[in-house]
Amino acid sequence: MSRIAPPAPRFADQFYAGARACLPVVISVAAYGLVWGVLARGAGLSLLEVMLMSGLVFAGAAQFVALDLWTITPATLPIGPLIIAALIINLRYLLLTATLRPLFKPDSGVKDALKMALVTDENWAMTVLEMKRGRGSVGFLMGGGALAYVCWMATTMTGHILGSVIDDPARYGLDFAFTATFLVLLLGMWKSRADLLPWAVAALSAIIASRLVDGSWHILIGGLVGSLAGALADKVRHVD
Protein backbone atom coordinates (compact mmCIF):
# COMPACT_ATOMS: atom_id res chain seq x y z
CA MET A 1 0.00 0.00 0.00
CA SER A 2 2.73 2.42 0.93
CA ARG A 3 4.72 1.54 -2.21
CA ILE A 4 2.23 3.26 -4.45
CA ALA A 5 2.61 7.02 -4.04
CA PRO A 6 -0.78 8.68 -4.30
CA PRO A 7 -1.10 11.27 -7.06
CA ALA A 8 -0.66 14.82 -5.83
CA PRO A 9 -4.14 16.04 -4.85
CA ARG A 10 -3.70 19.36 -6.60
CA PHE A 11 -7.38 20.17 -7.02
CA ALA A 12 -8.12 19.25 -3.41
CA ASP A 13 -5.18 21.34 -2.18
CA GLN A 14 -6.30 24.32 -4.23
CA PHE A 15 -9.92 23.80 -3.18
CA TYR A 16 -8.89 23.89 0.47
CA ALA A 17 -6.61 26.90 -0.10
CA GLY A 18 -9.46 28.76 -1.80
CA ALA A 19 -11.88 28.00 1.02
CA ARG A 20 -9.29 29.11 3.59
CA ALA A 21 -8.52 32.33 1.72
CA CYS A 22 -12.23 33.14 1.49
CA LEU A 23 -12.88 32.48 5.19
CA PRO A 24 -12.47 36.16 6.20
CA VAL A 25 -14.59 37.52 3.32
CA VAL A 26 -17.27 34.92 3.88
CA ILE A 27 -18.00 36.68 7.17
CA SER A 28 -19.63 39.45 5.16
CA VAL A 29 -21.60 36.78 3.29
CA ALA A 30 -22.78 35.46 6.65
CA ALA A 31 -23.75 38.93 7.86
CA TYR A 32 -25.67 39.62 4.67
CA GLY A 33 -27.24 36.19 4.71
CA LEU A 34 -28.60 36.76 8.21
CA VAL A 35 -29.95 40.17 7.24
CA TRP A 36 -31.53 38.81 4.06
CA GLY A 37 -33.12 35.90 5.90
CA VAL A 38 -34.67 38.24 8.45
CA LEU A 39 -36.00 40.54 5.72
CA ALA A 40 -37.23 37.58 3.61
CA ARG A 41 -39.41 36.43 6.48
CA GLY A 42 -40.87 39.92 6.69
CA ALA A 43 -41.51 39.98 2.93
CA GLY A 44 -43.54 36.79 3.24
CA LEU A 45 -41.18 34.12 1.90
CA SER A 46 -41.57 30.67 3.45
CA LEU A 47 -38.54 28.76 4.71
CA LEU A 48 -38.77 26.50 1.65
CA GLU A 49 -38.78 29.54 -0.66
CA VAL A 50 -35.74 30.94 1.18
CA MET A 51 -33.91 27.62 0.66
CA LEU A 52 -34.89 27.47 -3.03
CA MET A 53 -33.93 31.06 -3.78
CA SER A 54 -30.62 30.98 -1.87
CA GLY A 55 -29.74 27.59 -3.30
CA LEU A 56 -30.70 28.21 -6.94
CA VAL A 57 -30.33 31.96 -7.49
CA PHE A 58 -27.35 32.39 -5.07
CA ALA A 59 -26.85 36.13 -5.68
CA GLY A 60 -27.07 38.52 -2.76
CA ALA A 61 -27.86 41.81 -4.52
CA ALA A 62 -30.51 40.23 -6.78
CA GLN A 63 -32.12 38.50 -3.80
CA PHE A 64 -32.31 41.77 -1.84
CA VAL A 65 -34.04 43.52 -4.73
CA ALA A 66 -36.40 40.55 -5.13
CA LEU A 67 -37.65 41.16 -1.58
CA ASP A 68 -38.81 44.64 -2.62
CA LEU A 69 -40.88 43.14 -5.42
CA TRP A 70 -42.17 40.09 -3.54
CA THR A 71 -45.85 39.89 -2.53
CA ILE A 72 -47.40 37.62 0.08
CA THR A 73 -50.32 36.73 -2.23
CA PRO A 74 -49.07 34.36 -4.97
CA ALA A 75 -51.62 35.66 -7.50
CA THR A 76 -50.07 39.15 -7.45
CA LEU A 77 -46.43 37.99 -7.56
CA PRO A 78 -44.68 39.95 -10.36
CA ILE A 79 -42.90 37.00 -12.00
CA GLY A 80 -41.64 38.94 -15.06
CA PRO A 81 -40.23 41.93 -13.13
CA LEU A 82 -38.58 39.57 -10.63
CA ILE A 83 -36.74 37.75 -13.44
CA ILE A 84 -35.79 40.95 -15.32
CA ALA A 85 -34.52 42.55 -12.10
CA ALA A 86 -32.34 39.50 -11.40
CA LEU A 87 -30.95 39.66 -14.95
CA ILE A 88 -30.12 43.37 -14.77
CA ILE A 89 -28.56 43.20 -11.33
CA ASN A 90 -26.47 40.17 -12.24
CA LEU A 91 -25.32 41.57 -15.62
CA ARG A 92 -22.09 42.63 -13.94
CA TYR A 93 -21.18 38.94 -13.58
CA LEU A 94 -20.58 39.03 -17.33
CA LEU A 95 -17.58 41.22 -16.56
CA LEU A 96 -16.51 39.20 -13.52
CA THR A 97 -16.52 35.71 -15.02
CA ALA A 98 -14.86 37.01 -18.23
CA THR A 99 -11.78 37.93 -16.15
CA LEU A 100 -11.57 34.30 -14.92
CA ARG A 101 -10.96 32.99 -18.45
CA PRO A 102 -7.15 32.63 -18.01
CA LEU A 103 -7.83 29.93 -15.39
CA PHE A 104 -9.40 27.67 -18.01
CA LYS A 105 -8.03 25.90 -21.08
CA PRO A 106 -8.69 27.71 -24.40
CA ASP A 107 -11.09 24.95 -25.50
CA SER A 108 -13.14 25.00 -22.29
CA GLY A 109 -16.84 24.51 -22.89
CA VAL A 110 -20.14 23.80 -21.18
CA LYS A 111 -18.61 21.79 -18.34
CA ASP A 112 -16.45 24.71 -17.24
CA ALA A 113 -19.33 27.15 -17.75
CA LEU A 114 -21.35 25.11 -15.22
CA LYS A 115 -18.68 25.89 -12.61
CA MET A 116 -19.55 29.59 -12.95
CA ALA A 117 -22.68 28.93 -10.87
CA LEU A 118 -20.42 29.04 -7.79
CA VAL A 119 -18.87 32.43 -8.64
CA THR A 120 -19.70 35.18 -6.14
CA ASP A 121 -18.23 38.65 -5.66
CA GLU A 122 -16.21 37.28 -2.77
CA ASN A 123 -14.50 34.22 -4.25
CA TRP A 124 -14.12 36.04 -7.58
CA ALA A 125 -12.25 38.90 -5.86
CA MET A 126 -10.01 36.51 -3.88
CA THR A 127 -9.24 34.49 -7.02
CA VAL A 128 -8.42 37.59 -9.09
CA LEU A 129 -6.14 38.75 -6.27
CA GLU A 130 -4.46 35.33 -6.37
CA MET A 131 -4.13 35.54 -10.17
CA LYS A 132 -2.44 38.94 -9.87
CA ARG A 133 0.16 37.24 -7.65
CA GLY A 134 0.77 34.71 -10.43
CA ARG A 135 -1.26 31.94 -8.74
CA GLY A 136 -4.95 31.08 -8.75
CA SER A 137 -6.74 28.03 -10.14
CA VAL A 138 -10.17 26.57 -10.79
CA GLY A 139 -9.87 24.60 -7.53
CA PHE A 140 -9.14 27.81 -5.60
CA LEU A 141 -12.23 29.44 -7.15
CA MET A 142 -14.44 26.43 -6.40
CA GLY A 143 -13.23 26.11 -2.80
CA GLY A 144 -14.14 29.70 -2.04
CA GLY A 145 -17.44 29.33 -3.91
CA ALA A 146 -18.42 26.17 -2.07
CA LEU A 147 -17.71 27.82 1.29
CA ALA A 148 -19.72 30.91 0.29
CA TYR A 149 -22.59 28.69 -0.89
CA VAL A 150 -22.80 26.66 2.31
CA CYS A 151 -22.52 29.84 4.37
CA TRP A 152 -25.21 31.66 2.33
CA MET A 153 -27.62 28.73 2.63
CA ALA A 154 -27.01 28.31 6.37
CA THR A 155 -27.25 32.00 7.28
CA THR A 156 -30.27 32.90 5.12
CA MET A 157 -32.15 29.97 6.66
CA THR A 158 -30.96 30.95 10.15
CA GLY A 159 -32.06 34.54 9.51
CA HIS A 160 -35.52 33.36 8.49
CA ILE A 161 -35.85 31.16 11.58
CA LEU A 162 -34.55 33.84 13.96
CA GLY A 163 -36.50 36.53 12.08
CA SER A 164 -38.61 37.52 15.02
CA VAL A 165 -35.62 37.90 17.38
CA ILE A 166 -33.16 40.06 15.34
CA ASP A 167 -35.42 42.95 14.48
CA ASP A 168 -32.76 45.46 13.42
CA PRO A 169 -29.43 44.04 12.10
CA ALA A 170 -28.07 47.57 11.50
CA ARG A 171 -27.98 48.03 15.29
CA TYR A 172 -25.08 45.59 15.47
CA GLY A 173 -23.19 47.13 12.54
CA LEU A 174 -23.62 43.97 10.48
CA ASP A 175 -24.85 45.93 7.47
CA PHE A 176 -21.43 47.61 7.23
CA ALA A 177 -19.64 44.27 6.67
CA PHE A 178 -20.36 44.55 2.94
CA THR A 179 -18.73 47.98 2.51
CA ALA A 180 -15.77 47.10 4.74
CA THR A 181 -15.06 43.89 2.86
CA PHE A 182 -15.14 45.42 -0.60
CA LEU A 183 -13.08 48.40 0.54
CA VAL A 184 -10.36 46.06 1.82
CA LEU A 185 -10.50 43.92 -1.33
CA LEU A 186 -10.11 47.08 -3.44
CA LEU A 187 -7.08 48.25 -1.42
CA GLY A 188 -5.55 44.80 -1.86
CA MET A 189 -5.76 45.17 -5.64
CA TRP A 190 -3.62 48.29 -5.76
CA LYS A 191 -0.72 47.61 -8.11
CA SER A 192 0.51 50.97 -9.40
CA ARG A 193 -0.53 54.57 -9.96
CA ALA A 194 -2.11 53.42 -13.25
CA ASP A 195 -4.94 52.06 -11.07
CA LEU A 196 -5.84 55.48 -9.70
CA LEU A 197 -7.57 56.83 -12.82
CA PRO A 198 -9.89 53.87 -13.53
CA TRP A 199 -10.79 53.58 -9.84
CA ALA A 200 -11.55 57.30 -9.50
CA VAL A 201 -13.59 57.34 -12.73
CA ALA A 202 -15.45 54.20 -11.64
CA ALA A 203 -16.18 55.65 -8.18
CA LEU A 204 -17.40 58.98 -9.57
CA SER A 205 -19.58 57.53 -12.30
CA ALA A 206 -21.03 54.99 -9.85
CA ILE A 207 -21.89 57.78 -7.39
CA ILE A 208 -23.55 59.83 -10.14
CA ALA A 209 -25.35 56.80 -11.56
CA SER A 210 -26.61 55.71 -8.14
CA ARG A 211 -28.38 59.08 -7.80
CA LEU A 212 -29.93 58.89 -11.27
CA VAL A 213 -31.01 55.25 -11.57
CA ASP A 214 -32.50 52.74 -9.13
CA GLY A 215 -31.22 49.27 -8.42
CA SER A 216 -27.66 48.08 -8.90
CA TRP A 217 -27.07 49.71 -12.31
CA HIS A 218 -24.41 51.99 -10.83
CA ILE A 219 -22.13 48.99 -10.24
CA LEU A 220 -22.30 48.02 -13.91
CA ILE A 221 -22.02 51.64 -15.14
CA GLY A 222 -19.10 52.48 -12.83
CA GLY A 223 -17.31 49.23 -13.66
CA LEU A 224 -17.70 49.76 -17.41
CA VAL A 225 -16.82 53.47 -17.50
CA GLY A 226 -13.91 53.11 -15.07
CA SER A 227 -12.35 50.12 -16.82
CA LEU A 228 -12.73 51.79 -20.24
CA ALA A 229 -11.03 54.91 -18.85
CA GLY A 230 -8.18 52.72 -17.61
CA ALA A 231 -7.83 50.99 -20.98
CA LEU A 232 -7.84 54.35 -22.81
CA ALA A 233 -5.18 55.68 -20.44
CA ASP A 234 -3.06 52.56 -21.07
CA LYS A 235 -3.38 53.08 -24.83
CA VAL A 236 -2.34 56.73 -24.59
CA ARG A 237 0.66 55.77 -22.45
CA HIS A 238 1.82 53.12 -24.92
CA VAL A 239 1.57 55.55 -27.85
CA ASP A 240 3.94 58.00 -26.11
Binding site: L56, L77, G173, A180, V184, L185, I221
Partner: protein, 102 residues
Protein backbone atom coordinates in the same frame (compact mmCIF):
# COMPACT_ATOMS: atom_id res chain seq x y z
CA UNK B 1 -48.03 27.36 3.44
CA UNK B 2 -44.85 25.99 1.84
CA UNK B 3 -44.82 27.66 -1.56
CA UNK B 4 -46.88 28.40 -4.67
CA UNK B 5 -46.49 27.67 -8.41
CA UNK B 6 -46.00 31.43 -9.01
CA UNK B 7 -43.13 31.59 -6.51
CA UNK B 8 -41.53 28.51 -8.08
CA UNK B 9 -41.72 30.04 -11.60
CA UNK B 10 -40.20 33.30 -10.34
CA UNK B 11 -37.36 31.56 -8.47
CA UNK B 12 -36.63 29.23 -11.41
CA UNK B 13 -36.56 32.18 -13.83
CA UNK B 14 -34.27 34.21 -11.55
CA UNK B 15 -31.95 31.20 -11.17
CA UNK B 16 -31.82 30.63 -14.93
CA UNK B 17 -30.93 34.23 -15.89
CA UNK B 18 -28.40 34.53 -13.05
CA UNK B 19 -26.58 31.40 -14.18
CA UNK B 20 -26.85 32.35 -17.88
CA UNK B 21 -25.08 35.67 -17.25
CA UNK B 22 -22.27 34.04 -15.26
CA UNK B 23 -21.77 31.30 -17.88
CA UNK B 24 -21.94 33.78 -20.78
CA UNK B 25 -19.12 35.85 -19.25
CA UNK B 26 -16.75 32.89 -19.40
CA UNK B 27 -17.91 31.69 -22.82
CA UNK B 28 -17.83 35.17 -24.42
CA UNK B 29 -14.40 35.84 -22.93
CA UNK B 30 -13.06 32.98 -25.07
CA UNK B 31 -13.84 35.06 -28.15
CA UNK B 32 -12.16 38.23 -26.86
CA UNK B 33 -8.57 39.10 -27.85
CA UNK B 34 -5.81 38.56 -25.29
CA UNK B 35 -3.79 41.67 -26.12
CA UNK B 36 -4.45 45.29 -26.94
CA UNK B 37 -7.33 47.49 -25.90
CA UNK B 38 -9.84 44.74 -25.03
CA UNK B 39 -7.29 42.93 -22.87
CA UNK B 40 -6.36 46.17 -21.08
CA UNK B 41 -10.06 46.86 -20.57
CA UNK B 42 -10.64 43.43 -19.02
CA UNK B 43 -7.67 43.85 -16.69
CA UNK B 44 -9.16 47.08 -15.33
CA UNK B 45 -12.64 45.65 -14.74
CA UNK B 46 -12.09 44.06 -11.29
CA UNK B 47 -10.80 47.22 -9.60
CA UNK B 48 -13.35 49.42 -11.33
CA UNK B 49 -16.25 47.16 -10.29
CA UNK B 50 -15.05 47.12 -6.67
CA UNK B 51 -14.63 50.92 -6.67
CA UNK B 52 -18.15 51.23 -8.10
CA UNK B 53 -19.48 48.93 -5.35
CA UNK B 54 -17.80 50.81 -2.50
CA UNK B 55 -17.97 54.50 -3.50
CA UNK B 56 -21.76 55.08 -3.47
CA UNK B 57 -22.07 53.26 -0.12
CA UNK B 58 -19.44 55.57 1.41
CA UNK B 59 -20.87 58.76 -0.09
CA UNK B 60 -24.41 58.02 1.06
CA UNK B 61 -23.27 56.74 4.45
CA UNK B 62 -23.45 58.71 7.69
CA UNK B 63 -20.44 59.99 9.67
CA UNK B 64 -20.38 56.65 11.49
CA UNK B 65 -19.78 54.78 8.22
CA UNK B 66 -17.08 57.22 7.10
CA UNK B 67 -15.20 56.88 10.40
CA UNK B 68 -15.53 53.09 10.22
CA UNK B 69 -14.36 53.02 6.59
CA UNK B 70 -11.27 55.08 7.47
CA UNK B 71 -10.54 52.74 10.39
CA UNK B 72 -11.00 49.70 8.14
CA UNK B 73 -8.58 51.09 5.55
CA UNK B 74 -5.98 52.05 8.20
CA UNK B 75 -6.09 48.64 9.90
CA UNK B 76 -5.78 46.90 6.54
CA UNK B 77 -2.84 49.05 5.37
CA UNK B 78 -1.07 48.55 8.71
CA UNK B 79 -1.73 44.83 9.15
CA UNK B 80 -2.59 43.55 5.63
CA UNK B 81 -5.09 41.38 7.47
CA UNK B 82 -8.49 41.21 5.81
CA UNK B 83 -10.34 39.78 8.78
CA UNK B 84 -8.87 42.22 11.30
CA UNK B 85 -9.80 45.15 9.06
CA UNK B 86 -13.33 43.83 8.49
CA UNK B 87 -13.97 43.10 12.17
CA UNK B 88 -12.60 46.52 13.10
CA UNK B 89 -14.91 48.17 10.57
CA UNK B 90 -18.03 46.45 11.90
CA UNK B 91 -17.04 47.14 15.52
CA UNK B 92 -16.27 50.80 14.71
CA UNK B 93 -19.59 51.37 12.99
CA UNK B 94 -21.35 49.81 15.99
CA UNK B 95 -19.48 52.08 18.43
CA UNK B 96 -19.78 55.18 16.24
CA UNK B 97 -23.55 54.69 15.89
CA UNK B 98 -23.85 54.34 19.67
CA UNK B 99 -21.70 57.44 20.24
CA UNK B 100 -23.36 59.53 17.57
CA UNK B 101 -26.80 58.23 18.42
CA UNK B 102 -27.41 57.46 14.76
Amino acid sequence: MWTSPEALYAIAGMALVSFAVKAAGLLLANRLPRHGFAAAWLSHIPGAVLAALVAPALVTGSLAEIIAAAATALVYLASRNLFAAMACGVFCVYLARLALGA
